[in-house]
């Protein structure tokens, strides 16, 4: 019988303690962010999809079309091509396509690039109705960034 009484009294006490805790929480301020109006602050190393870096003056991408990032990528999302530079020295980038549907944001490409030509963008809310929007043309994106720069 003692188990019976102990269950009732200990149980009732634990139920009251539970109620008091949630009751106290009821009057505490709200913790959550109201998303569309309060956007989160992104840390420095946030990993959005990759984008090209241009050197300040000429606005041309630093990329020398060495293809290291293309080889390093585990899921083969990068497809880049370039041709001989008119000045005869090195190559110029013509197209840099990133298939963001299979990219797993591992950072191998950014690490494998020795010419500081790739970095992570800070874009986190890219949504679309069809997959083709995720085939990103990074050169076009770079041009856009150059235009909106002063």
């Amino acid at each position: 019988m003692s188990g019976y009484w102990r269950d009732i009294f200990a149980g009732a006490k634990s139920l009251v303690i539970g109620l008091s805790i949630t009751g106290r929480e009821f009057f505490r301020p709200v913790v959550t962010e109201h998303y569309p109006y309060e956007t989160p602050t992104l840390p420095a190393r946030f990993r959005g999809h990759i984008e090209l870096i241009a050197n300040e003056e000429s606005g041309e991408p630093n990329c020398v079309v060495c293809g290291m990032c293309q080889r390093a990528c585990p899921s083969g999302c990068i497809a880049l091509s370039g041709e001989k530079a008119p000045s005869g020295k090195g190559k110029v980038l013509t197209s840099y396509m990133l298939d963001f549907t299979t990219c797993s944001l591992c950072g191998s490409c950014v690490e494998s690039c020795n010419f500081n030509a790739l970095r992570f963008s800070r874009e986190y809310n890219r949504v679309a109705f069809d997959k083709s929007v995720f085939q990103l043309d990074l050169i076009a994106r770079l041009k856009e960034q150059n235009q909106c720069k002063p």
Binding site: S14, T22, P43, R45, R47, P74, S108, E111
Partner: protein
Amino acid sequence: MNLPRQRYEETFVLNLGPQHPATHGVLRIKVTMDGEYVIKAEPVLGYIHRMHEKIAEQGNFAQFMPYTARMDYLHALAFNHGYCLVVERAAGIEVPERAEYIRVITVELNRIASHLLWWAAFLLDLGGFTPLLYAFDDREQILDLLERTTGSRLTYCYFRFGGVCNDIDDEFISGTRTFIDRLRKRLPVMYHSLVTGNIILIKRIKDIGIISTEQCRRYGASGPVARGSGIDFDVRKHEPYSIYPELDFDIPVYNEGDSMARYMVRMDEIEQSLRIIEQALDKLPDGPIMAKVPKNLRPEAGTCYAAVETARGSLGHRLLCNGDRNPYRLKLRSPTFSNLSLFAEVAEGMMIADVLAFLGSLDLVIPEIDR
């Protein structure tokens, strides 16, 4: 609390199907039931099978790293650590001291986040909605800390062979210390007196799903499932790796073997992980965070095995290399695969509500089972 076997005239087969709120993933359990009692339960796997082991054989060693985080996304850093360990052991790479400490700190933080999410989901299965929000409130602090250093929140790709890719700064260290004090203050109130002491919860998981030590050994169970049945087996103490021998922490072991024992093992493990992080932060040395490692690694032929303690048990990598750039065969021994294999034997005779409480206490992550 296994009730006597019922007579079987009118039984029906219920599909705790791949799409069910309590399976937390695409696990299907074909349950033959007589009214409320389960007569035979048979888990059906493979709904999220992606053939990780074949992918490992395609690319070179470094290219498999992001895939390790996609197996057990709740404790992704331990999977990174396991894969790094087996390749470093095969190729004989020495990891600098500071990188080892950073690895242990981030793995233990990730372990706490995984236990907090297990606790939230387990109580959701038992019908309590509010604890989930309190646990996610704490887990959010960890995710922000880890996002500052690694760049991602859930599927990390932070470890490299020979070290880690980013260094931790002072803000991370001070943030971790405030997190530790905050969680230490909240644990007794929000977790133990609100939930662990609650009579409804105690009645709900006490003496439910009792696993004997012999069953654990025959099925090869590990982690909190084995430690809940009185087996003192934790890979960090059993096969010490990294700098765990230098840190003093103890392994919670309970002998009852029921869901309550597994619950208490995981709650005590959160406190132990806090202790580990504190000691590791105090002893954090300076120095490089990456060893000199050739770009494409070619470990010489032979076989190698490395085990790591994840939140769910001992994760093993059996690696066979034949000297060229990609692994010849990489076997991933996932802890939940063995922990779930004893489910069919223990779940007989229980009622449907207890079967779900027992399933929750096993802490399953389905992509880790199906690989």
